[in-house]
């Protein structure tokens, strides 16, 4: 909301500067986002009188004017505006003047003619083109004839004013008008707010002889009032009104329309002026539109209505969409003489529905949507009618033709001073409280510290005690509220086990060399299903109104976005990358989403390029499957899950079929690790990329034993190495399993220390060398015991796999 400082001063006595005022308003609850000076660096612009205006001898588009700039001084000024003419009062920038943008005016010669300054358009004086009245939009601005040559033009044009831009929260719709802000400022500055003059002198004619009004539903339209103003003469509104409209961001049109806009800004009451002679009947009927009913609105658009929209009709067809926009047929035009002035209270839900469906948001509709002051409707109507009489020569017919109830009763809210002090932590007295309510203009009764406050209808946001406590608190000043510390008993805070484990996982992965990424949860429908390793049917979850296809569907895997991260970085010439993310994925197993989807925390990583590098020592290791598997093995050890995790080769969409393992916890899939499918790598223009994805929720929820200390070995262990020859395609994991099972209790550690598959091997065979460590914590092992166990291992390996010792 833009509030003119000068206009505001008409209703409340303000003796401080605009910026001081803005500071006080902000501290009391309404944020002043900006204080804008309408003078954008202008000096030396005066009123001039164009005494003579002749064609420039050497230029078709220029005129040479003799302009009286006061004290009998007449300057010759060359002007290019098409609308400059003899007898006009205009704004003249004399030599030495400065215009916005630090544009200095100097004596000049234009095509041989001397020019002592410049006749200005409003745009040249810093007014936004879209606010300049249409007739002056491509020429100079013509000032009223009573303007005094030589006097400060900025005064006439109100360009010495300041505009306060208020950032209003939805509860303070009462400040969507100058009067509302005047009440607020009056409370802050301990002043009284003065109301505008709403007296009218009615003519002999009676409004009810011209029109009748009926409302179909009082719920949709609780009140409708119509006034008749006859014999108006359409013309421009006075400059002071135009100035205030422009300062408030509204372009002046003509006196009648300007008056409705002016009173809208003043009272916050939307008004509409119909051309009475063009109504097409002598009645107003407010009803719901029929589905598909048509209306041509003021902007000459044909609009199709719905039955949730409210329309003003002439008994037959719509002449306006209630609270949103008038119809073209009954629009006020230059030849309009009789005006029907509408002042109504429409339900915000009706206005919102129509404004949203038609894509029309106006000063009027937004006010109806946020709620207007019911008890101000009639006053605003009288104010506008009075101005139409005064400024457009109209005759106001007696009375207002109404349907519905003009005013509502005010309600009261109770507030207990002691409860207020308990809530705020203050010691504000009843007297201080009473004084604050006086400043706010709220009437009240008080006994024993209990206030019963009658809430003015301009403040519908106040409905409960806490609302009144806030009013008192903010006017009292939040900076005067002390700083205290919670009285409640001290209880230990702390992370839950799950939260602690998530932090542990993050720390581990960072320690392992991965950078944490945070990506978007919304992706494309196609990518949302990538990398699924579960067999169950899942349904993608898409939002109803996405901002783009790219961000339309919730992810079921973190990997598609992590791959985008790699892509983004590779495109910027960063080739060696290791990132991980921990975040939620959303799994929906319902064909129609009735219940919330399942959410799991996943932790995933993507690595490409060189992982370990120490060039001058000749070390340069590109990432491979085992780098990632090693990271996962370390993580599982960190989580005390190593014994329960298995890695089984598996085929997963978008993964390399021969280089991918499904990670299982107690035999149930909890993730994957492997290389991206080369086809996808190519499609995304990625180098060889290895990824992992784990359902962290499953890993964290897996019950693990409390860690128990193992006594350090007091007896020596015995190590035996074996090199085995087996079939090439036999997974090493199977050998581990058999060795461990056959070795029994005494076999405490099995390590693979060599893998050879090459020329020296028989076709289709490979050699694996294991180191087996036997020991008994209770005693020293005998050779015999070890030999027995070890032979068992060898025998078992031969039985299972035909494994032979390598010679």
């Amino acid at each position: 909301m833009l509030i003119s400082y000068n206009w505001l001063k008409e209703y409340v006595n303000v003796e401080i500067s605009p910026s001081e005022l803005a500071d006080k308003i902000t501290k009391s609850g309404i944020e002043v986002e900006m204080v804008e000076s309408l003078n954008k660096g202008i000096s030396g612009v005066v009123v001039g009188y164009v005494k003579e205006c002749i064609q420039h001898p050497n230029a078709d588009k220029l005129r040479v004017c003799k302009v009286d700039i006061g004290q009998g001084e007449v300057s010759q000024i060359v002007c290019g505006a098409p609308n400059v003419a003899e007898g006009q009062k205009v704004a003249v920038a004399v030599p030495g003047a400065v215009l916005p943008g630090n544009f200095k005016i100097k004596k000049a010669k234009l095509r041989g003619e001397e020019s002592l300054g410049m006749i200005c358009s409003l745009q040249e004086l810093g007014v936004d083109t879209k606010l300049v009245p249409k007739e002056y939009s491509s020429g100079i601005f013509v000032m009223p004839s009573d303007a005094e040559p030589g006097s400060d033009a900025l005064e006439y044009l109100n360009l010495n004013d300041h505009v306060l831009e208020l950032g209003l929260t939805p509860n303070r719709a009462d400040c969507l008008n100058v009067l509302g802000v005047a009440y607020e400022v009056a409370a802050i500055l301990e002043q009284d707010a003065k109301l505008p003059d709403t007296s009218i002198t009615a003519s002999e004619e009676k409004a009810e002889d011209f029109i009748s009004v009926s409302i179909e539903s009082l719920e949709d339209n609780p009140y409708y009032g119509a006034m008749i103003i006859r014999d108006v003469k359409i013309g421009p509104s006075p400059l002071w009104m135009q100035n205030r409209l422009m300062a408030s961001g509204i372009r002046p049109i003509n006196n009648i329309v300007d008056i409705t806009n002016y009173v809208l800004l003043e009272y916050g009451q939307p008004l509409h002026a119909f051309d009475y002679n063009r109504l097409g009947s002598k009645e107003i009927v407010v009803r719901r539109a029929a589905e598909g009913e048509q209306i041509q609105t003021l902007d000459d658009q044909n609009r199709s209505l719905k039955d949730t929209h409210l329309v003003i009709t002439n008994g037959k067809e719509p002449i306006a969409v209630a609270g949103v926009m008038g119809g073209a047929t009954s629009e006020v035009q230059n030849d309009t003489t009789n005006v029907l002035l509408e002042a109504a209270y429409f339900a915000s839900s009706r206005v919102r529905a129509a404004s949203k469906d038609l894509g029309l948001r106006s000063e009027a509709s937004s006010r109806y949507e946020k709620g207007i002051d019911r008890n101000r409707v009639y006053a605003a109507a009288k104010r506008a009618a009075g101005l139409m009489a005064e400024l457009a020569g109209g005759k106001v017919a007696d009375g207002i033709v109404e349907a519905g109830k003009r005013e509502v009763n005010m309600y009261s809210v109770k507030m207990d001073v002691s409860r207020m002090n308990n809530l705020l932590g203050t010691t504000i007295t009843s007297e201080q409280t009473a004084a604050i309510f006086d400043r706010l203009g709220f009437s009240y009764k008080e006994s024993n510290g209990i206030f019963e406050v009658v809430v003015p209808t301009r403040r519908p946001d106040i409905t409960i005690e806490a609302d009144l406590i806030e009013e008192v608190g903010r006017i009292y000043g939040y900076d005067r509220i002390p700083t205290t510390y919670l009285l409640s008993e001290a209880r230990p805070g702390g992370l839950t086990a799950s939260q602690a484990k998530r932090r542990e996982i993050r720390k581990y992965l960072e320690g392992a060399g991965l950078y944490q990424a945070v990506t978007y949860a919304l992706t494309t429908p196609e990518k949302s299903t990538h990398f699924s390793y579960t067999e169950d049917a899942v349904y993608p979850i898409s939002v109803a109104h996405p901002m783009s296809e790219e961000r339309s569907t919730l992810r079921m895997s973190l990997l598609p976005q992590l791959l985008e991260v790699l892509q983004y970085n590779q495109n910027r010439s960063m080739e060696d990358l290791a990132v991980y993310e921990m975040g939620s994925v959303f799994i929906n197993r319902q064909e129609v989403l009735n219940d919330l989807p399942e959410e799991y925390v996943f932790v995933s990583g993507a690595v490409t390029g060189v992982f370990n590098e120490h060039l001058w020592q000749g070390e340069r290791k590109t990432v491979d499957f085992y780098v990632l598997k090693g990271i996962l093995e370390g993580l599982m050890s960190e989580l005390n899950l190593s014994e329960r995790i298995t890695y089984e080769s598996g085929e997963i969409e978008n993964m390399h079929p021969g280089r991918t393992a499904v990670v299982k916890l107690d035999g149930i899939p909890v993730g994957l690790v492997g290389q991206l499918h080369p086809a996808l790598q190519k499609e995304m223009d990625l180098k060889d990329t290895y990824v992992f994805e784990l359902n962290a929720t499953s890993l964290i929820e897996a019950e693990t034993d409390q860690m128990v200390y193992q006594t350090l070995p007091r007896y020596p262990s015995i190590t035996r190495d074996i090199a085995l020859v087996v079939d090439q395609d036999l997974p090493a994991g199977d050998l581990f399993t058999v060795i461990q099972a056959a070795g029994g209790e005494l076999l405490k550690e099995v390590n693979l220390f060599d893998l050879y598959q090459g020329e020296k091997m028989e076709e289709g065979k490979k050699s694996l060398a294991f180191s087996l460590k036997y020991f008994d914590p209770e005693r020293t092992l005998t050779d015999e015991e070890v030999v027995t166990a070890h032979n068992r291992v060898l025998k078992s390996l031969e039985e299972h796999f035909g494994a032979q010792l390598r010679k």
Binding site: I481, T484, S488, A544, H545, Y568, L596, E599
Partner: protein
């Protein structure tokens, strides 16, 4: 014979001293003290000596042998030390060459900020509450005093999935869920960090996905002045001990009274600069006393219990703290950006 021994001693010691390495030394040792060496020879000839001479010469021979042994050991130590010194000299490396890098990643700056805030509130006795990112309309809006058709719903255009299910627009539904679980019994003392979603076009200051941290305390006798105390502690720990805070009245549907908290600008200390837009103050968070409707809806008696809530944006805090100029940096994950937060 004694002279012979004396001569051998002199000779041996001379040879020992002439030895340049352990091999030479070993040869000397074998030559003089070995089984076939001259001293053994001398001792073998002892039988020819008289009974008087025999112990004297025997003792002298042992003496000579011991001296040579001692000299040998001395020389051996000397040569060994020399060998070590020489070896060490050869082993000298260039310590100025760069070390082998240890692969080490780090947390995302948003995580760093959230963790810092979490730890601060954990130390004040708060716990961390979490909830789903896909929420019901009830917990996201209605339970927070935002019934259907409420104008404040305009403030946050939302990603609805169905009429009743949406991506949460705030972490406040976690507050509603937590209060409900407490079944009307205080105290509740939580913070809830998490991701939230709004229908915004992504630009330098807007992101359709961002993070929030909210706090909630519900108990008997919780006051606005207590909120001020908690927020002041927070502001000083996050932005420096000499920060001042300022509360301004504001509006949120789920709190009444509602406030916004500004901190004195950490760049200019309140004099006015570009960070604080010449005001000396920086807006940090919104807060207020929990609206009685919200308490009642969650099963708390609003006559008995009061509470405060606050909410802030980790992106904003990170941007202020580290001087980041574009919110999109957080989600682009440029590795050169991420790497800068090693010490965050």
């Amino acid at each position: 014979m004694k002279d012979r021994l004396e001569a051998l001693k002199v000779e041996a010691i001379e040879k020992i001293n002439e030895s340049h390495d352990l091999k030479d030394l070993q040869a000397v040792k074998v030559a003089y003290l070995g089984k076939k060496g001259p001293i053994t020879e001398v001792l073998k000839g002892m039988g020819k000596l008289s009974a008087e001479e025999r112990p004297v010469i025997g003792a002298y021979a042992n003496e000579v042998r011991d001296s040579i042994q001692l000299e040998l050991e001395k020389k051996q130590t000397e040569l060994e030390n020399a060998a070590i010194t020489e070896k060490l000299a050869k082993e000298t490396i260039d310590v100025s060459l760069p070390g082998r890098p240890v692969k080490q990643g780090n947390a995302h700056p948003l995580t760093a900020v959230v963790t810092e805030i979490e730890d601060l509130f954990l130390s004040m006795g708060f716990t961390i509450a979490e909830g789903p990112e896909v929420e019901t309309d009830y917990y996201n809006f209605e339970a927070l005093n935002l019934p259907k058709g409420h104008p404040a719903r305009d403030m946050q255009d939302s990603f609805f999935i169905t009429e009743d299910i949406l991506l949460r627009t705030q972490t406040s539904p976690v507050q509603a869920r937590t209060m409900e679980k407490h079944e009307g019994q205080g105290p509740v003392k939580i913070i809830s960090p998490g991701k939230v979603y709004r229908r915004d076009n992504d630009d330098a200051t807007h992101s359709h996905q961002f993070m929030q941290i909210e706090g909630l305390v519900v108990d008997q006798n919780v006051r606005l002045s207590d909120l001020k105390g908690v927020l002041e502690t927070f502001a000083k720990k996050m932005f420096g001990e000499d920060r001042k805070i300022r509360l301004r009245p504001s509006f949120f549907p789920f709190t009444e009274p509602s406030v916004e908290m500004d901190i004195s600008c950490f760049k200019c200390s309140g004099k006015g600069c570009s960070i604080c837009k010449q005001t000396g103050w920086i807006e940090i968070l919104g807060a207020g006393m929990v609206h009685p409707n919200v308490l009642e809806m969650a099963g708390f008696d609003s006559k008995k219990y009061t509470g405060f809530a606050f909410g802030m944006g980790p992106e904003r805090i990170a941007m202020l703290k580290y001087g980041i100029d574009d919110i999109r940096h957080f989600y682009a994950n440029d590795i050169r950006f991420l790497k800068q937060f090693k010490n965050a």
